[in-house]
């Protein structure tokens, strides 16, 4: 389903906070450095990753860094 995001960005991501284990590999891998670990704990006691909210280019690198099947969804601008 097409979604609309902030003006300048070429992409954005969604993180499922309950699936995330706070390993930080996505934070490390993100080229744009737009991810961080939340100071809050999720239901399982991990600090889940969070998107800063801007600056993502939709490259998908964080998705491949992440060991969880569905913790990250990446969206990218069409054309």
């Amino acid at each position: 389903m097409p979604v609309t995001a902030m003006r300048e960005d070429r992409g954005f991501i969604e993180i499922n906070a309950q699936e995330c284990k706070g390993c930080g590999l996505c934070v490390e891998a993100c080229v744009q450095k737009v991810l961080h670990l939340s100071p809050h704990l999720n239901h399982y006691g991990y600090h889940p990753a969070e998107y800063d909210g801007r600056g993502c280019n939709g490259c998908g690198v964080c998705f491949y860094a992440c060991p969880e099947p569905g913790a990250i969804r990446v969206f990218k601008a069409v054309a």
């Binding site: 902030m6 992409g11 499922n16 309950q18 284990k21 399982y44 491949y64 060991p67 969206f75 069409v78």
Partner: protein, 496 residues
């Protein structure tokens, strides 16, 4: 405002939620930062991209990746430690249209399962193996694996892996690619984004190699195990990239995909019905004619013992062969052991209506003792109510039991009368079957005709058999009812 579309997300061949314990239905069981999760995702993408989900059978190992079946909505089999390539071989041969993918850790594949992977690769099985090398036993808490780096401390190498004492890190991909059969072998790593994307391509190519029917493929994946390595996930990833990859060069080891011809799966095993023809066996015998009680609940455990040359083993073999012809479940276990050196010999035979659990007879319902030492040795293990046949004129006084039926007959002397003492074992057979109608005479005769070589011998044996029956008949006519209870399964007793 540009329009956005999802480009990456959970692969379709994963379940939406996982049937794990309690509430943990939307997380994997791996530790944070574990490489198994990433490998699993790469495999899932390959399956989705190739559109083969309905054909995939995934073989999970023993190790931290044991639970693949919780996650992958494909055919799943979980197998004993190290055996994945052997089971995968069977699955692929039985179902040539399926895509069989095994997944193993380095303890599983390179230690206990080293022979399975070596031979599957050497046979060029049409399977795809993913080999997650984290250089340690993860699941069991960090013992040395064959792949552990030199100097690494593990619970079993507390001073570090020592090449003199513990050998060198095993380079599985290099070993396998030295074989002639494998079509695609590559080592990849999960140490950086670049490495992960290369791993994705290699895994897809390995699976494709099977889809195209080209032959054996394997991808070794250098994989972080932050928990056991006692590193945080980012450090562990760096260790893969900088230290492991130094010892285990990340590169393609063998790629014959361009030249390999699709080769047909090995011919399937012949139909069971075909076996008698192939093995030149006579057609199936008619159903047995033993008394009903014996046929339905039979569990006859026979021990035959004597000295070498008395035909102990052949006697057992005849019973088992005839039992098989009669549609019974049978086993025949000749005992070879140090005792053979002193010239004694024994065998264990089971004839039963239900599948035989063990060929070993430790409590016998029938003991055939062809000499005194054998009687002394095995009399004690005969079950109360059982039958003992002893080769002699009478049972020695110090070897008598009141709770079993004991009969003495000079079997070998009787055999002498038909021409040769060598047929003594067949006299025993005749006597036994007269005392206990375990098997129909015509079926025993047919088995004998097959097992005994030479017309002349067969003729002698037929006479010996008849004499055995007569001799037993003269001694006792109603042994049967006395011992039937000993050869009927215990279960049947309970039901009765």
């Amino acid at each position: 405002m540009p329009e956005m579309k999802q480009t990456h997300g959970k692969a379709q061949c994963f379940y939406d939620t996982y049937e794990r314990k309690g509430e943990l239905t939307h997380q994997t069981h791996y530790c944070p930062g574990c490489g198994h999760g990433i490998s699993m995702k790469l495999l899932a993408e390959a399956i989705d991209e190739l559109g083969i989900r309905d054909r995939v059978i995934l073989v999970s190992p023993v190790g931290c990746s044991v639970f693949l079946y919780y996650y992958f909505d494909v055919g799943n089999v979980q197998v004993a430690h190290g055996r994945a390539p052997a089971v995968a071989t069977g699955l692929k041969r039985a179902r040539p249209d399926s895509i069989v993918i095994s997944y193993q850790g380095d303890g599983d594949l390179a230690a206990i399962g080293s022979s399975e992977i070596l031979h599957a690769a050497n046979r060029g099985e049409l399977i795809t193996c993913l080999f997650a090398n984290n250089a340690i036993y993860g699941m069991t808490g960090g013992q040395m694996a064959p792949t552990t780096l030199l100097g690494r401390k593990t619970t079993t190498t507390p001073f570090g892996r020592d090449k003199i004492k513990d050998g060198y890190p095993l380079h599985v991909s290099e070993v396998l690619s030295s074989l002639e059969a494998p079509v695609f072998v590559e080592r990849v790593a999960l140490g950086s984004t670049k490495q992960i994307l290369a791993a994705k391509r290699a895994i897809r190519k390995a699976v494709e190699t099977q889809v195209k029917g080209l032959g054996f493929s394997l991808v070794e994946i250098l994989s972080p195990c932050p928990t056991i390595w006692k590193q945080d996930p980012v450090e562990a990833q760096k260790f893969v990239r900088e230290t492991m990859a130094e010892v285990y060069p990340v590169s393609n080891k063998c790629d014959r995909t361009a030249t390999a011809e699709p080769h047909p799966a090995p011919a399937p095993a012949p139909d069971l019905d075909e076996l008698p023809r192939i093995l030149k066996l006579p057609a199936a015998a008619p159903a047995g004619t033993a008394p009903r009680a014996l046929r339905e609940d039979l569990d006859c455990r026979i021990k035959i013992a004597g000295f070498g040359g008395q035909g102990v083993l052949l006697l057992g073999q005849l019973l088992a062969e005839a039992g098989m012809d009669d549609g019974l479940e049978v086993s025949w276990l000749p005992s070879y052991g140090p005792e053979m050196r002193s010239g004694t010999s024994n065998c264990h035979v089971r004839l039963a209506s239900k599948p035989v659990d063990s060929p070993l007879v430790t409590k016998s319902s029938v003991l055939i003792a062809l000499n005194e030492p054998s009687l002394d040795k095995f009399l004690e293990e005969v079950e109360p109510g059982g039958l003992v046949l002893y080769n002699g004129d009478e049972i020695p006084e110090d070897a008598r039991r009141q709770d079993v039926t004991m009969r003495a007959l000079p079997f070998f002397e009787i055999a002498d009368e038909v021409g040769t003492a060598k047929a003594g074992n067949i006299v025993v057979l005749g006597a036994l079957l007269e005392a206990l109608p375990l098997l129909p005479a015509e079926i025993v005769d047919r088995a004998m005709a097959r097992v005994v070589k030479g017309e002349k011998w067969l003729e002698i044996d037929r006479k010996a058999m008849e004499r055995g029956r007569q001799a037993m008949n003269a001694v006792v006519s109603a042994v049967v009812s006395a011992v039937v209870s000993a050869v009927v399964s215990k279960e049947a007793h309970c039901h009765a």
